[in-house]
């Protein structure tokens, strides 16, 4: 049985889609079978970020409405054999996603893949709650910015109340992925520091993605940043985050932090 991960955030534009693609590719890099599911019905962008926009024939709504088989809608990545994409519909609206349909699709994907990564739409509406409903693990993507942190707090509340896990009285495993972090600005005191965000949201840290031109460059050419340039700073950060997701106990290095002798030895405890 595969693990279902939801990549979510309250606010839009913080890097959910970028992170879904990058983490999906990083996990598939080891040979794990990964499918990245776009839940943003009506808008869809994951296909574009993954460079598969011209290969979409059927989408998740077609599958749910019985117009296509799941295997017909899945798009295999051209670079990685074990990476797949289930695109969202561009033309229909989010009401076409039914709770029963989503449940069926996720159940089917779980049996066939090691990882099912659900790229959630922004906000707290139906689409977002459906994306998180069947998740085993949640990744909350946050920018070091007041509006993003506040909305993340709200989403954490929803994860603890509106998911299947929560309803069954279990605790949802949640991780924080801090994106667009600029160590220089944080050092100057003009950006919330990692510790500030961690203290406010109090969920374990999965990784810090530094602000970088490489992220934009990768999405321009339609490639997950972990595949576009595997040695760029954001790619390394995503690869490490993927290893932590896989259960490895890897310390998180805060970009730009000058480490003392002891810091180098002990590092920071990760999620």
């Amino acid at each position: 049985m595969g693990k279902v991960i939801v990549v979510t955030s309250g606010k839009g534009g913080v890097g959910k889609t970028t992170s879904s693609a990058a983490l999906g590719a990083a996990l598939a890099h080891n040979g794990d079978k990964v499918v990245v599911v776009d839940f943003d019905v009506g808008l869809r962008n994951l296909d574009l970020v993954m460079g598969a926009e011209r290969r979409v024939v059927y989408d998740i709504v077609n599958v749910i409405q019985g117009e296509a088989k799941l295997t017909q809608a899945l798009i295999r990545d051209k670079r990685l054999e074990s990476l797949y994409l289930l695109p969202a519909s561009q033309t229909r609206d989010k009401d076409n996603l039914t709770p029963e349909g989503v449940e069926k699709v996720i159940a089917a994907l779980k049996t066939a893949f090691d990882w099912v990564i659900c790229d959630s739409p922004a906000g707290i509406e139906r689409g977002a709650t459906l994306a998180m409903r069947h998740a085993d693990v949640a990744i909350v993507v946050t920018n070091p910015e007041v509006s993003s942190v506040r909305d993340s707090d709200r989403i954490i509340g929803l994860l603890d109340s509106k998911t299947l896990k929560a309803e069954q009285g279990e605790r949802m495993e949640k991780h924080l992925l801090l994106t667009r972090y600029d160590p220089l600005r944080a050092e100057r005191g003009d950006m919330l520091k990692v510790d500030d965000v961690l203290e406010i949201l109090s969920i374990p840290l999965l990784g810090i993605i530094p602000e970088s031109m490489d992220v934009l460059r990768a999405s321009n050419v339609g490639s997950p940043v972990t595949l576009a340039d595997g040695r760029s700073a954001p790619a390394i950060a995503y690869f490490e985050a993927a290893r932590r997701l896989n259960g490895e106990n890897l310390p998180v290095t805060i970009p730009g932090e000058k480490k003392g002798f002891f810091g180098k030895i002990f590092g920071r405890k990760a999620a």
Binding site: R150, D153, G157, A186, G189, D196, I200
Partner: protein
């Protein structure tokens, strides 16, 4: 421009962001978490009272206030002057 800013820069802004967030979220966590409960209570209280009296839905306020040790639930229902008569007519 940048050169000038080094000297004119006032205090850093991150501590302000942190403080505002802490205050705001402390408040929001208390209220948002219970919004469901308050709505449910409101509906059920309304239903119970409207069995015996005609009341105006808009003139009811249910407020939950959380204190450190004691929380209070304040229910404020405005009963129209002729509420009693109307119910009798309806019945």
């Amino acid at each position: 421009m940048n050169f000038l800013r080094i000297f004119t820069r006032s205090q850093s802004s991150a501590p302000a962001a942190r403080e505002r967030l802490q205050v705001l979220l402390a408040h929001e966590r208390a209220s948002v978490g219970d919004s469901d409960l308050v709505t449910k209570l409101r509906d059920e209280i309304l239903r119970a009272i409207s069995k015996h009296m005609q009341i105006d839905d808009d003139r009811v306020s249910v407020k939950m206030e959380r204190g450190a040790k004691v929380s209070t639930l304040a229910v404020d229902i405005e009963i129209p002057f002729d509420a009693d008569k109307k119910t009798k007519k309806a019945a």
